[in-house]
């Protein structure tokens, strides 16, 4: 089966498929720890993420605040003694909230990024290895899932369960794996025709052996890149949910929710409710982008950023049909 045939069954061309059509990936392709550690850009990205992690998870140990009890007596106070970044509309300390909110944002991001990548990679690899009619059916299922409106799902889930962080992680993971699956499938289709796979098959390896021994390790690069992006997108998605008013109830917070609440008070001049979470959010997203970009360079042999670009489907942009992938 040639690469062109894959298109006949192919879903929409995603980045991974594009690279497959332009010939086999050149160069290394496999991610090594050494390459990772020696890349200046990955290390700076990782450094920022690590610092943020420390700030959010270790910070509260050193800086004690009550993040649960609403205190109407001290709402919307500007930065000052006792509250270095002021208080929010619930009378809760903003600096402490930045830490707790960061915990939710980072947990959400990592959990969704990893869960959707694992699920999507397995499904996509399976689809690619099975090929033929099975592949066609699996891909059509994905198309169907991608076209079911997000709003309907969210409102229904919200009316059946109390929205908590874990429920949101679950929903977002379920919603975001199809995009990853497409990407990985494209890569697997390209790899399948490469010599090592054909050689393995001719030497008697089963399909599944090829899948687990060769295909999945070879798609690890894209998967990691995808995951870094899934993290940023999940954080953004939750902020959109809170903006639309269907996020989890207070006192839960995350950076996106803080931003939403802050924007509500923007004209009131409560800048300390807007800029700190904005700064934190942008910094972390940029750091992940840095990591993803650099990883991609390593994976693709140090010369291109081929599989890196992903189309992000955002609420503001594509509110329901598809969702951020």
């Amino acid at each position: 089966m040639s690469a062109s045939e894959t298109l006949a069954f192919g879903g929409p061309a995603e980045a991974g498929e594009i690279s497959s059509r332009q010939g086999a990936p050149s160069g290394g392709g496999r991610l090594t720890l050494a390459a990772f550690l020696h890349n200046r850009r990955t290390m700076s990205g990782v450094g920022i993420v690590a610092l943020m992690g420390l700030f959010c998870f270790i910070g509260p140990v050193l800086y004690h605040t009550n993040q649960v009890t609403v205190n109407l007596a001290i709402i919307n106070q500007p930065p000052g003694p006792g509250h270095p970044l002021g208080t929010d509309e619930y009378g809760i300390d903003v600096l402490g909230r930045l830490m707790v909110g960061g915990q939710s944002s980072l947990e959400l991001g990592f959990a969704v990024g990893i869960a959707s990548t694992v699920l999507g990679a397995l499904y996509g690899a399976l689809s690619g290895v099975v090929g033929g009619v099975g592949d066609g059916i699996l891909m059509r299922i994905i198309d169907t899932l991608l076209a079911v409106p997000l709003f309907i799902l969210l409102i229904i889930v919200a009316s059946m369960f109390s929205l908590s962080l874990s429920v949101i992680i679950l929903i977002l993971a379920v919603l975001s794996w199809p995009g990853v699956a497409r990407l990985v499938r494209g890569q697997v289709l390209a790899l399948r025709n490469r010599e090592f796979a054909q050689a393995a098959t001719s030497m008697g390896s089963t399909r599944w052996g090829v899948l687990f021994r060769h295909m999945i390790p070879n798609t690890l690069g894209i998967c990691i890149v995808t995951a870094t992006f899934g993290i940023a997108d999940a954080i953004y998605a939750l902020s959109a949910l809170s903006f639309l008013g269907i996020g989890p109830p207070p006192p839960f917070t995350d950076w996106g929710t803080m931003l939403t609440d802050g924007v509500n008070n923007l004209f009131n001049g409560y800048w300390w409710q807007v800029y700190p979470p904005m700064f934190a959010l942008v910094l972390v997203v940029l750091a992940f982008r840095q990591i993803g970009d650099a990883l991609n360079d390593i994976v693709s042999g140090g010369q291109t950023g081929r599989v890196f670009a992903r189309r992000r489907r955002r609420f503001g942009w594509v509110p329901m049909s598809t969702r951020y992938e």
């Binding site: 109407l72 709402i75 009316s159 109390s162 639309l244 008013g245 109830p249 207070p250």
Partner: protein
């Protein structure tokens, strides 16, 4: 977006209140004329009103039973006002000057009403006659099932026959006796006259006849008018809708909800419009509206979101004045006394008292609503209808915020109190000092509170309640939901029927219940009241409500009011006022009339700058 739902929900409920009238009133209160703002009125000028949320989609004044859009009243009231004009300035009284009747006489033990209509004219010069009333009656008689305003058993079903002795007199022979005030305030105040001479036909090109006098004809005419009434593209051009008896005519209507009124030059009533045009411009959200207000020029009158109250000084710099409209209604958390899990708990009065003691209403008013709210001391708003406030409510109600009293109550009833944890019942049983009937040993004091999502102040208020309840170990789990979802999952639960499918809700704060002209508890707290979702039932309560319905003393009303405040069929909450901003050279906007169902631009006018 977070702030958007309030107005839509509130307006929809306000409309429902006018449409589905409550069932009682007290004493007669037909009063004096309105207090108008003085100034040197200018003639002419255009006022642009911002309308947030939904917009009208039906122009025929009798929408079908599937159309619950509360904004239709905004469109039609200025064109076809009701027989009885409710509200006068800020007072909850009937306004006889603006009403279409000259006199209303109740006789034969209040089962016959003789109504004399004023000698007013339709906009095409044809006099308004008793035939127009029989036209309305005939159409509704055969079609009331398909009228959203129909209330079980009331008009037109309760009418034995209608006699018209002359062109201006209508005699309504009713099937039973009514309290006259109730019938005037809550039934006749929902009936608009229709021009028989222009609308009694079955097609646009057809001739006007007396089709309404037969069943088949009435059905055909009603179907025709309802069909035309839903075609948004022709609202402003359809000749049917140009025949009006109100102060305004519709000049423009766009399908996105933008519409404009111009004065009805032949309006017969006393309040002839001074403005030359009123434009209603739609906004998707109050965020969008607020941004427009802040940047200046295009809006003359708009709603100020509570969240932005602190910006009044900036808006004043942009040339606006801020006005406050207290909302006639009661805001509450409804406890479901028949929830399968903790209904038995909530049926114990002391549990409801504990919950109420732990709500710091004064602080919520001050901090969440910036002072623009009624504190919610009991079933009647203290900002509204001063004559209805009992001394108990004025003094802060029976249960002012007091964590110590709440803890004492719990301890006295056999609970183990764990502040910031979850209390558990230690002494199950029904003896004094025990937790009470239906509560098992070790049962946690825990409730799920469902509330309308997407409103910043609601999030704030309910999070504050969650925290203050936690101080005495009452665990509240918050569950914000879109307004419609709450509505669709809230069933009526009572002793007879409380299926798990529709009675799994425990505590609920969907907004507020609006009052019609009188702040009566009928419909809310009587055993079979339409607002009694939680299944509160008390013989004494029913009796006290009945006493307010037929008696006329304020003593009877206060007795009802105090008993209800103490019994907590609802957990009382602060009720936020509506805040409006309008251009400072615009007069006649205050005092507001919250009862007419819409705004009254016929009272508005520009004044000379500096006057």
């Amino acid at each position: 977006m977070r702030k958007t739902r309030r107005l839509a929900a509130a307006a929809a409920m306000l409309a429902l209140a006018t449409v589905l009238a409550a069932c009682a009133t007290t004493s007669s209160k037909i009063g004096s004329g309105p207090t108008k703002v003085a100034g040197k009125p200018l003639n002419g000028g255009t006022v642009t009103v911002a309308e947030v949320g939904e917009s009208p989609n039906f122009i025929f004044p009798y929408p079908p039973s599937t159309n619950s859009n509360g904004y239709n009243v905004n469109l039609t009231m200025g064109l076809w006002p009701y027989l009885v004009y409710a509200g006068d300035g800020g007072q909850s009284i009937v306004n006889p000057q603006e009403s279409l009747y000259q006199s209303l006489t109740y006789s034969h033990n209040n089962s016959v009403i003789t109504m004399v209509l004023k000698p007013w004219k339709w906009s095409d010069g044809v006099p308004i006659t008793s035939r127009d009333f029989t036209f309305v009656y005939n159409l509704l008689k055969w079609n009331y099932q398909n009228w959203i305003g129909y209330t079980q058993g009331l008009f037109p079903v309760d009418v034995k026959k209608v006699i018209t002795p002359n062109a201006h007199t209508v005699v309504l022979d009713l099937t039973r006796s009514y309290n006259p005030t109730f019938y005037t305030d809550d039934v006749l105040s929902l009936i608009a006259l229709m021009p028989q001479h222009a609308w009694d036909k079955t097609s646009l090109s057809g001739k006007v006849g007396n089709y309404d006098e037969t069943k088949a004809g009435a059905k055909a005419v009603y179907a025709f008018l309802q069909k035309q009434g839903g075609i948004m593209g022709t609202f402003a051009t359809n000749p049917l809708w140009q025949v009006v008896d109100g102060p305004w005519k519709l000049a423009t209507f766009n399908s996105n909800g933008y519409y404009a009124w111009v004065p009805n030059k032949s309006y017969s009533g006393p309040d002839k419009p001074r403005l030359s045009k009123v434009i209603w411009t739609p906004f998707t959200t109050d965020t969008a509206e607020m941004n427009t207000l802040r940047s200046g020029t295009t809006i003359d009158l708009g709603n100020l979101p509570l969240n932005d109250v602190s910006q009044t000084s900036d808006l004043e710099a942009e040339g606006y004045v801020v006005g406050v409209l207290p909302v006639a209604g009661v805001a509450e958390i409804v406890p479901n006394l028949w929830n399968p899990v903790n209904g038995p708990m909530l049926r114990n009065l002391y549990i409801r008292q504990v919950l109420e003691y732990l709500i710091d209403r004064t602080q919520i008013v001050k901090k969440v609503y910036a002072g623009y709210a009624d504190p919610g001391n009991g079933p009647v708003s203290t900002l509204y209808g001063q004559q209805w406030d009992s001394p108990l409510e004025k003094a802060g109600g029976p249960y002012p915020y007091s964590p110590s009293k709440a803890i004492a109550l719990l301890k006295a009833n056999g609970w183990k109190v764990v502040p910031n944890g979850t209390d558990t019942c230690q002494h199950a049983g029904t003896a004094a000092g025990d937790c009470g009937p239906g509560i098992t040993a070790g049962e946690p004091l825990q409730f799920q509170l469902m509330y309308t999502s997407g409103i910043a102040s609601f999030d704030q208020q309910n999070a504050a309640i969650q925290s203050s309840e936690a101080a005495a170990g009452v665990k509240i789990i918050l569950k914000p939901e879109p307004f419609n979802t709450i509505v669709s999952t809230t069933g009526y639960c009572n002793q007879q029927t409380h299926p798990t499918s529709t009675c799994s809700w425990q505590l609920q704060d969907y907004g507020y219940n609006p009052y019609t002209l009188d702040p009566s508890g009928a419909g809310l707290f009587n055993t079979d009241g339409f607002g009694n979702y939680g299944g509160y039932s008390s013989a004494k309560e029913n009796q006290l409500i009945d006493a307010t319905e037929y008696g006329s003393s304020s003593a009877a009303f206060f007795a009802y009011e105090n008993y209800t405040a103490e019994q907590l069929p609802y957990l009382w909450l602060p009720n936020a006022s509506n805040i409006f901003v309008f251009k400072k050279n615009l007069a006649g906007i205050t005092p507001w009339n919250p009862f007419s169902g819409t705004l009254n631009p016929e009272d508005w006018y520009y004044v000379k700058p500096g006057s």
